[in-house]
Each structure stands twice: as C-alpha cells, then as structure tokens.
C-alpha cells in the first residue's frame, strides 16, 4: 500500500479588503490546480470550502487590513496556529486603501463616526505587521500574481 503524500496545510483568510488577491489566488489555480491540489491541502479557505474550527497549519495567507478587536483576536489566533504567515495584497501589507479612513478630515470622520461606533471599529485600521509577526509579504493591489506563485513554490520546496 502506498502511503499518502503529506500535503502542505494551507489557510487563506480575509479581513477588511476587496478580496482581489483572493480572486488572483483562484485564478492562479486555473493552470496549476492539478499540481497544487496534489501538494496542498486548502484546509482553511472559506472561499473554497466549509471548515471546522481552526487547527495547526503550515502556512496562513492573510489578505486585508484589521478594523476591529474581533479581527485582531482572530489574526492572533491564526498567527499562533500557523508556522508561517504571509501578508497578501496592499491592505494587509500597508493597511491601504482600507485604512483610508485614518486620513479623513474632521468632517469625513464625523460623517462615519456613528458607523464606527455601531459596529465596534477600532480607532485606526491597521496593517498586519502592526499586530503580529509577518514572515513574507506579497504586495500589490491586487497582489503581484507572479510573486505569489514564486513564494508558493518556495514554500512548497521547503516543505518537501
């Protein structure tokens, strides 16, 4: 009997963002799905499957900026569970454009204040590295697909 190949356990998470990098990740699968699905278990990727509670993972890709304590707590949990954490896309790497409210003038800030209070936003929207240690960055809005594929291949090579 052949032992099943140990796959890389991957998580893909999104916070405050447009999910454009998620779209590019799925587009990257168009030509790589046969190779990647043999090597990667997309275990915690809500866009691809319903998952049970989170568990240990080899790598977590995180898209989006952090807007609230709730998101901050979840990001810290992901960080604890993931051997490596990758910030993907501009909002995760720099906070922007999701953090554009940090730069609003007083009139704009006043206009959005009731929403911030109603939904328990933090006073500032933050990039991932403001909260947790980030191992790799894939910048861009959307993320640079070539750099993403290169990084994925590097992580796969390290895991083999």
């Amino acid at each position: 009997m052949v032992n099943p190949v140990k796959k890389l356990i991957l998580g893909w998470f999104t916070f405050t963002c447009s999910e454009d990098s998620t779209m590019l990740m799925i587009e990257a699968l168009n030509t790589r799905w046969q190779d990647w699905t043999e090597k990667i278990d997309f275990k915690y990727a809500k866009v691809l499957r319903k998952s049970s509670s989170l568990g240990p993972m080899d790598v977590a890709f995180v898209e989006g900026a952090i807007s609230s304590d709730l998101q901050e707590t979840k990001l810290k949990t992901i960080r604890q569970l993931a051997k490596k954490l990758v910030a993907v896309g501009s909002c995760a790497v720099t906070g922007h454009p999701s953090a554009q409210r940090n730069l609003f003038n007083p009139s704009q800030t006043q206009a959005i204040k009731p929403i911030l209070e109603k939904f328990n936003f933090n006073s500032q929207t933050k990039k991932l590295s403001d909260i947790v240690t980030v191992d790799y960055l894939v910048p861009g809005c959307p993320m640079d697909e070539t750099k993403f594929v290169e990084l994925m291949n590097k992580i796969l090579a390290q895991a083999m």
Partner: protein, 437 residues
C-alpha cells in the same frame, strides 16, 4: 403538532464572496428573528472619493471589490463621461463590452463551479472532486478552463482581470495585442461545449424555491450589460437618471450594508432578472444551443439564477467570439470632456445585477458619490427567501435524503439558498447610510 423552538447562528457562510452570517430564531413554530447579516467591515469609499480627480475615480472605486472591480470601473466611467459630456467611440464601447463579457464568464464560472457545484454533488469543495472519476475529473478540468477563458479575455481587453488598467475616460490607453486574439478565439471556442454541459447540469438541478417578487434588469436588443433602460417585471420602464428615485433605502441595524425596496417590497436583480426580462436580446447562437433551457424562463424559482448564469456564460462566449472574429482594433485618441463639471449616472449590469454609480463632478474633481450595488439591492429578498424556506421546513414540506436533524437540514439548505444569489459582500459594504432608529 410538535412545537419547534430553535436558535441557529451562522457566523461564516462559506463559498461566497466575502463575509456574511445569519441569526435565526424559531419559537413555537414561528420565525421570531431572521437576520441575514453582511459582516464585512466598511472601507468608506463614497467618503474617500470626495476631492479626488475625476480621471482617477474609476480606478479608485474599482477597489470597492476585487470580484466585480471591472464592473465598477465601467459604471464609474459611464457616470463621469455623462457628467462631462464625453461620448465614447463605437470601438471603445465594443472593447468595454468584451471586458464585461470576460468578467461575466470568469465570475459566473467561479460561482457555478466552485461555489454551487459541490452542493449538487454533495461535496464540501470542488477540490474534493474525485480526479479518478471520469465525470468529476472532467468537471474539475472544465471549471478551471472556463474560468481561464474569461480571465484571458479580461486580460486581453482590460490589461488585467482585476482592476483593469487599460480603460480610461473617453477611451482606452492600450489596445488588445492583435497576436493574442487568435489563441483567445481558440480558447473561447474550446470551452463552449463545457458551458453547454454546465447549462444542462443546472437545467436538471433539483433545487427549487418559488417566490413572487419584482425583477429589475437592463433591457436592450443585444443583451448589453452597459446600455439601455431598466425594466421591471411589473411593466415599468426606468431611465438611469430616475432609477434611484424608484428605490427606498432601508437600514438594517444588524448588517454593515445598505438595503433597498422597490415599491415598498423586496426585489431581485441579477442573471435571473436579466433572462426573465431580456431573453430576446441573447446571441442567436446561444438561443439555439440553449433552446431547451430557455423554455424555463420567465421563472420565479430563485435557483434558476444558477441556470441563468450558465446561459449568460455561453452568451458572453458567443458574443465575444462574434466581436473578436469581426473586428480590427485601431488606435484612437481618447475623447476629451466638453465641460469640467456636471452630474452623471452610470448603470452597469454587473454579474450579480444592477450596479449604479451617481457621481457629481466639480471642476474635474469628485464632489459627491452614491453607489448602489446588486447585493445590497438583493439583501432583503435573500432574507425573505430564507423565511420562505424555513417556513416550508416548519410545515414539514421539505425533507432531505441527506438526513440530519432540523438544525442541520436548515443550515445546509439556507447556505445553498444564499449561494444561489451569488452575493458579494465586499461590494455591499463599501458604505452605509445612517438612518438607524
């Protein structure tokens, strides 16, 4: 009769675009709470866009949503061009038509293959399909091939499938590479049989929920996603300028997205509305190949939104093949604004339905913006359909061979229903009007 009391909370609905949840309470067989919650955090684009250059606005507003970004670009372009009295050339309109067709193919294929098909095959994920099973292997292959064809069409015409950089005010800053057109024609032609097979799968889908609601969609002779007036299933013809006045804004305190009513009731936009109201505009090759499926319309079965999307993929393939086979693209200078200030409306049929941009421009700077997205417009209808579905379960009129207790069956069926709408939460949470009571 057995009294049912139940609380159901879904924090993260899977296989949709973005974050949404549901709180459902049943007391003594009556629904006492049914809150469909869009939980995506807002990024305040309609505030942030104020004071920005009109020329940059389409690209900035595209960041509302990575899934529908190119629809936002095209709606913003139309709004600003109307405001500044720019009339784009016929070639520009054809190229924009190809961009939206690429989006329709890519986005509908993502929804149907990756989000919905696992429900039909009782799998958690398309990635769990058995590569050794001929049928499932073929569907895996088809999924990524069809998606790729749409992706490549968007890249050829827009420069990128997400946040396309080629379209600009009055025209395009770059034309498709002529050498890449023949291989794309081959690719689109090659996926056509797979799309026809997908139509057949959804024609035979067992899912059914009949609702009685108004549908709203663009109507025009060539199934354009970019031009035409809006019509409703109750026979009203609406111009882009008066569309917003037909709708009433509704704030839901539990949702981070605006909702709307039409004539004080929930309504539906999207592929089902389009095929219901504009079937005559479909490409003649699509009408022939999908003749049997088209007899299902007009339909009031919300799950026929999936079938309508499959037909729209074929229509986008056929329409794009016609354009690419018959058109040579030549360099043009973008059309300049005739005025520097004005008010404009852009209405685009995005994959999930009517997308409305209303922009006010003052001396080439954005002064004000209002944006209505399809998922916001469908939000109340989703909630009402969930109630309809739950009541069917409570009356014992729906059983499932998949088993499980009532809570498990409700969870499964509600998620399948929400997926039929193909909701997009990133779009829906761009901004919220504040009218809480």
């Amino acid at each position: 009769m057995h009294q049912i009391n139940l609380d159901l909370s879904l924090d993260e609905i899977s296989k949709i675009e973005g974050n949404a949840g549901l709180d459902l309470s049943i007391q003594n067989n009556q629904i006492t709470k049914c809150h469909f919650k869009i939980t995506e955090y807002k990024r305040f684009y309609t505030q942030a866009i104020k004071g920005k250059s009109a020329a940059a606005a389409p690209s900035l507003l595209a960041r509302i949503c990575g899934t529908c970004s190119n629809a936002h670009i095209l709606a913003a372009l139309e709004a600003i061009e109307t405001a500044l009295k720019i009339t784009p050339s016929p070639q520009t309109m054809l190229l924009r038509r190809l961009i939206i067709s690429g989006l329709i193919i890519r986005d509908h294929a993502l929804h149907l293959y990756l989000f919905v098909l696992p429900d039909l095959f009782q799998k958690n994920s398309l990635l769990d399909f058995d590569n050794q099973d001929p049928v499932e292997h073929q569907l895996l292959h088809d999924a990524f091939a069809v998606k790729d064809a749409g992706n490549q069409l968007s890249i050829l015409t827009g420069g990128r499938s997400v946040h396309a950089p080629y379209p600009q005010l009055g025209g395009f800053n770059q034309l498709p590479d002529p050498e890449k057109i023949p291989p794309l024609i081959q690719k689109l032609t090659a996926v056509r049989p797979a799309v026809i097979k997908l139509i057949d799968i959804f024609l035979n889908s067992p899912f059914k929920l009949i609702h009685q609601v108004p549908y709203l969609a663009n109507k025009n002779p060539d199934y354009s996603y970019l031009t035409g007036n809006i019509v409703s299933s109750d026979g009203v013809n609406i111009t882009p300028q008066t569309y917003r006045r037909q709708l009433k804004h509704v704030s839901l305190p539990y949702s981070q997205a605006s909702a709307y009513t039409y004539k004080d009731t929930s309504y539906m936009v999207g592929a089902l509305a389009r095929i219901n109201l504009n079937q005559s505009g479909l490409n003649s090759n699509t009408k022939t190949a999908a003749a049997k499926a088209l007899t299902a319309f007009p339909s009031q079965n919300v799950f026929d939104n999936n079938l309508a999307q499959a037909i729209e993929i074929l229509n986008a393939v056929d329409d794009s093949l016609d354009i690419l086979n018959q058109t040579g693209f030549t360099p043009e200078t973008p059309v300049k604004p005739q005025v520097n200030s004005g008010e404009g409306f852009g209405i685009v049929e995005a994959p999930r339905g009517l997308l409305y941009h209303h922009l006010t421009i003052d001396n080439l700077i954005v002064k004000d913006a209002e944006i209505l997205v399809p998922t916001g417009q469908n939000q109340l209808n989703i909630e009402n359909d969930i109630k309809l579905l739950v009541n069917i379960h409570l009356r014992g009129e729906r059983s499932s061979h998949l088993g499980g207790d009532l809570k498990q069956r409700l969870t499964r069926d509600i998620e399948i229903l929400i997926r039929a709408y193909d909701p997009c939460m990133s779009c829906a949470s761009h901004f919220l009007k504040i009218r809480w009571k």
